[in-house]
Amino acid sequence: MHPLLDTLKTKFPEAVLAVQEDKQRGDLSVRVAAPRLLEVARFLHDDPVAAFDHITDICSADYPDDQERFEVIYHFLSLPHGIRIRVKARVTEEHPVVPSITSVWKGADFMEREVYDLMGIKFSGHPDLRRILMPEDYDEGHPLRKDFPAEGRGWRSRFDFLPRLDEAPVAETGRDIPEAEKRVFRTEPQPSSSSRRTEELLLNMGPQHPATHGVLRVVLELDGERITKATADLGYLHRGVEKLAEGLAYMQIIPHTDRLDYVCSMTNNYAYVRTVEKLLGLTIPERAEYIRTIVAEMQRIIGHLFWLGTQALDIGAMTVFFWTFREREVLLDLFEKLCGARLTLNYFRIGGVDSDFTPDLVERLRAFLKDFPAHIEEYETLLQTNRIWVARTKDVAVISAEDAINFGLTGPVLRASGVAYDVRKLEPYGAYGKVDWEVPIGKNGDTYDRYWVRMEELRQSSRIIAQCLDQLPEGPIVADAPKIIPPPKAHVMRDMESLIHHFIIFTQGFKPPKGETYCATEAPKGELGFFIISDGSPRPYRMKIRAPSFVHMGAFDHMARGYLISDIVTIFGTYDIVMGECDR
């Protein structure tokens, strides 16, 4: 058994109920008694043998038939040791309370609120336990519970919490918002000794605001022009993808993952199919691995170009936006040629990819890569030393390395603070272990460094693609697993056996073994992880998406405090936030 699990068992003989090591998938998991969770969490975070300093995710599962109905599942990552651990605690329906771990990991704040919102588990000691994705006055229950119907409930007018269209609107003009409602947006009042009366201003921004990159609302508490508290109000784009997935076969979920981070949808496909493959223990043909790596890096280029263009536009530099979109267009055309769509690509299949790279496509991609470094330099002439850009990004939205880890930040946001954490290096997948590339690391953890990290990543991505194109092996693009992967169309039309497999896979789907697994992928925004619990049926029992944008929004208040109101747009942009992924 893993030494860490032994240590935990001897150290906490009562609190640790069971330990398990899944050798095949490389997962460690620990079951602890819910009331003593905090002790174990403290140990895992503080002790140098464990050093789980990075919080990955918190999610929950519902087992209505069990005596202890709910399970809260924590994922932690130890950056010094490079291992992950899953901690689980069970609670009953009558007393669904778990101690909050916000005192250990600050990033747990938003994650616990999400669990409370969607599953109805309370966290004792949480500073601000409110609904986060659903509306605050939503009284229909907690959607991820198994007794909440996955089917729609009919027409809009049948939801009684929504205003009905056939009724006269309720006159609600000029109402003063009661103080009690404003309280959540305010900081704790400081006792002041002076007789000067101060009053903070509450300013509402969004949800329909051009600079919030989607429908996001923030309430800013302002002291003059300084932000004293920034409360993000999420959930305007909540579609319940996780609930939806519980009613779909594994294969049918892929097009739904396209709609998470719609700027680079293939990365979501990639993260999802990798998790399912890990669950199944499926190996992928070489050529498919290379193609996956190539398209994932193309998506990273698109994602970063999109970020650069919009961030510069938000700050006031118009030209960069046109130039980055010009290059993005070239890549989108390639995707269109490859799989027939430009944005919602649905290109990955479980066990491989949908269509093959043609020589023509390889040529066009090479031609793009030849010009691309010159284009990156072109963007840099406009921005790198430009005094407006520097003044508006340097020392804005600074976060220290410890804080960034404690909040669970990932991706370029974390690396700009000087932490060399990249899933592609830590747990190499695809062809990343076979090509030569570097992880750019920033120093100051401000927006300028994040810009620099992303620019370097553009260069590294094109390096990776160029090497993959050179090494691209011949061979099949889907794995040979007739029980899981539908046979080729030509076989289906010819022989009965393939036809039967085809029918069974499309009508019933395949059945992965019972089990659960978490798998992380480096998306352009950060670590995109999927956690799937399978009960042996053709549909996932529970699917949790660890969306980097959502986790990053948890650090928003921390990073926005003390800056001027004109910086708020930069602070949004610095995360490269996409609300489709944040709200899911």
Binding site: L248, M251, Q252, I253, I254, P255, H256, D258, T319, R326, E329, E336, K337, L338, C339, G340, A341, T344, N346, S355, E378, T381, L382, T385, N386, R387, P486, P488, K489, A490, H491, V492, M493, R494, D495, S498, L499, H502, F503, F506, T507
Partner: protein
């Protein structure tokens, strides 16, 4: 000296001038990449995943055998098939009614992958904006009409099958050898 050049660069707005030079050089080598849609249209690739259509064989019969696989494969329940026996031919089935609610479609192509007789196709049509979204619930005739105008070359129907088996298209050209 470096301090002095830095100071000079600051007061003459050097980096702004360099940026302006980059921008203005594009004015000289002016190459528009924007298309004046709808007056100009892009050429879409063959694999484009646009509007769905039902296809026919070259003799005008519908390919669809009413097997319901597309309905089962669709992740957002777009398709509704009512299958029935072909009148007078009890071994063959067809889709008596076939509906697609295109307001829900994700254009993922899973239904096309699922169809065992290639009766569904994705066309290059995308200009399907309508005023009333109920118009997007298409029936079999409308879907066949889309197929007729988008796929002028139809697949050949071969009738050398045993009359007692369900009708599948075995006329697929260039079958790959199946590995044993």
């Amino acid at each position: 000296m470096t301090k002095f050049t830095a100071w000079i660069k600051t007061i003459i707005f050097y980096e702004i001038l360099v940026g302006m030079k980059a921008t203005l050089s594009h004015l000289l080598h002016y190459k528009p990449i924007t298309l004046q849609y709808p007056h100009e249209k892009r050429t879409l690739p063959d694999s484009y995943r646009g509007m769905l259509a039902l296809l026919r064989y070259d003799d005008g019969t519908e390919k669809c055998v009413g097997c319901d696989l597309c309905e089962a494969a669709c992740p957002s329940r777009v398709i509704k098939v009512f299958s029935a026996e072909v009148p007078g031919e009890p071994t063959k089935r067809y889709a008596k009614e076939y509906y697609m609610d295109m307001t829900r479609c994700l254009f993922c192509g899973l239904c096309v992958d699922a169809c065992p007789v290639d009766a569904l196709g994705m066309t290059r049509e995308f200009e399907w904006a309508v005023y009333d979204k109920r118009q997007l619930r298409l029936n079999k005739e409308q879907l066949l009409a889309i197929g007729d105008r988008s796929y002028p070359v139809r697949e050949k129907r071969l009738e050398f099958q045993h009359p007692n088996v369900a009708f599948f298209n075995v006329a697929f050209k260039g079958l790959p050898e199946k590995e044993s």
